[in-house]
């Protein structure tokens, strides 16, 4: 998440450089458009693969996180695991193809989907308007809100409890933007890394720590003496698969898939298999899982 701002700068830079290059090729007409792009009458640089092309090739390429347990991570045997990966495996099974994983980072996942380097990005990808301009999001399969964790001795149960207190946040996260925008009275103490932020809380440098509710819930469970006093703050952000803009066949296939999986409560099974052991009884699966793409 902290890479976001760096990435924006880089993206802006490289984009402007490339637009210049792109303009040249458009004039000279030397751009080697690929066949599917011609057929679809899309932009000349569309490189996505349709559902049929994926099936023919025998593998679907899915971008996932490789270091964000429990959503996408690599276990000690080098196997991809997690909530996103569980879903990715099912996509592979239902397409009848093998899944090839590509390790993505918060900073590069938009580009992966936007350039069609991967067929689908399943990397705990929060839907935002800004991102939706660059990639196409399918229906959501998860939702997150903010959570606030604090010591048992002085549990923060509402925003009012935070008045004139110090709140720890991690730079570049939604928690930082939310509190800066909506709660200017709360004093923020910012850290670059999650590990530093947690250590600051343990050392009592701040009164509470806020980030995605999933993250604080998991942490509080393993650190006795700390409680998540607020577990659903701010508006619910949804998390959805993303594909390259214009890849309608794959987008429709994914939407149908997510709706169909809703009938068998697939994502609850996914939750049980991957998240339940981490969150335990601290979280209610219904507050995280979205079935059939319907957010209430």
């Amino acid at each position: 998440m902290k890479y976001n701002t760096i990435f924006k700068k880089i993206a802006a830079l490289s984009l402007s450089a490339l637009l210049t290059v792109g303009a040249f090729t458009a004039c000279s007409g030397s751009g080697s458009d690929n066949a599917s792009a011609d057929n679809a009458g899309e932009k000349s640089n569309a490189t996505y693969r349709t559902v049929d092309e994926i099936k023919q090739s025998g593998k679907v390429i899915i971008g996932v996180f490789s270091d964000k347990a429990p959503f996408g991570y690599v276990d000690e045997n080098g196997q991809y695991q997690g909530y996103d990966v569980y879903f990715a495996e099912r996509i592979g099974k239902d397409l009848g193809v093998k899944v090839e994983y590509v390790s993505t980072d918060p900073a590069s996942r938009v580009e992966y989907a936007a350039t069609g380097k991967v067929d689908i990005v399943l990397a705990n990808f929060t839907v935002t308007e800004e991102r939706a301009e660059k990639v196409d999001f399918a229906l959501p399969y998860m939702k997150v809100k903010l959570g606030v964790v604090s010591p048992d001795s002085a549990v923060v149960r509402s925003i009012d409890d935070l008045k004139d207190k110090t709140l720890i946040v991690v730079k570049g996260t939604t928690a930082e933007t939310y509190f800066e925008k909506n709660e200017p009275d709360v004093k923020l103490q910012k850290y670059d890394e999650y590990a530093d932020a947690y250590n600051a809380l343990l050392q009592g440098r701040g009164d509470a720590f806020s980030t995605d509710n999933t993250e604080v819930l998991a942490w509080a469970l393993l650190n006795p003496g700390y409680t998540v006093g607020i577990d659903a703050l701010g508006s619910a952000d949804t998390i959805a698969p993303a594909v390259q803009k214009g890849n309608t066949t794959l987008l429709n296939w994914l939407n149908d898939e997510i709706k169909a999986l809703g009938n068998e409560n697939f994502f609850h099974a996914d939750y049980d298999a991957t998240l339940a052991s981490v969150y335990g009884s601290a979280a209610n699966p219904d507050s995280l899982v979205v079935e059939g793409g319907v957010v209430d």
Partner: protein, 224 residues
């Protein structure tokens, strides 16, 4: 806080995965170094030409590569090229390409500097001794240039090895990324594992760069 965290290094195939990651790092940097040293020498010679066009071309190339952060170059080579032309280059190919372009530019400038630093009287003396142009370069200029080039070249090589950690952003899982994966999986069970994993990564990088320094020392002694 359970355990000291060092056992994390030996869970499952973790250590083998770290070594595999190191091999990826080395593969990319060795290829890039092996290509950019000869190319850089040629580029350095090209830069010393008195031709104004050659000067302009090499200036633009050098400044472009030097001003652009390597990360931007990587993004352009990997994502940008696909965006603009639809060419889907492999991530490792893009990485080797970018590091070779970068290495060539830097190496070229080192060669140019080393050549320029040979005083004019060396050329004049060689001429006075009746040496041909080829002989002057072969016996007088190149041996001196090589000696002056050695330390900065070693410096560039180790810098290239370490800078390859940027390739994670185009999806290549190299040694540092493997380390982060291991730390993340164990961040609840072994909160102190990061110290050990980063320690191991540090030692691996050291083992990768150290032989280069040893080689340099050996050559410097031999050439004295």
């Amino acid at each position: 806080m359970q355990g000291s965290g060092i056992e994390v290094l030996f869970l499952g195939s973790n250590f083998a995965r770290l070594l595999e990651g190191l091999w990826v790092t080395m593969r990319i940097s060795i290829l890039a170094v092996v290509m950019s040293v000869p190319l850089g020498i040629l580029f350095g010679l090209f830069m010393t030409l008195q031709n104004p066009i050659a000067k302009a071309v090499s200036r633009v190339y050098l400044e472009f590569i030097r001003i652009m952060p390597q990360l931007v170059l990587l993004f352009i080579a990997y994502f940008g090229v696909t965006r603009a032309f639809g060419w889907n280059w492999d991530a490792e190919f893009s990485a080797v390409l970018v590091f070779t372009l970068w290495g060539t530019a830097e190496m070229g400038d080192l060669v140019r500097g080393a050549l320029k630093s040979i005083p004019q009287h060396q050329y004049d003396s060689a001429q006075a001794l009746g040496m041909s142009r080829m002989q002057t370069f072969g016996y007088i200029i190149i041996p001196q240039t090589l000696r002056r080039l050695l330390p900065p070249t070693i410096n560039l090589t180790t810098r290239m090895i370490k800078t390859t950690s940027l390739v994670v952003l185009i999806g290549i899982t190299e040694v540092l990324k493997v380390g982060k994966q291991i730390i993340d999986v164990n961040r609840f069970r072994y909160p102190t594992a990061s110290l050990w994993v980063y320690g191991a990564v540090f030692i691996l990088y050291f083992l990768a760069c150290w032989p280069v320094s040893v080689l340099a020392k050996y050559l410097e002694k031999r050439w004295r």
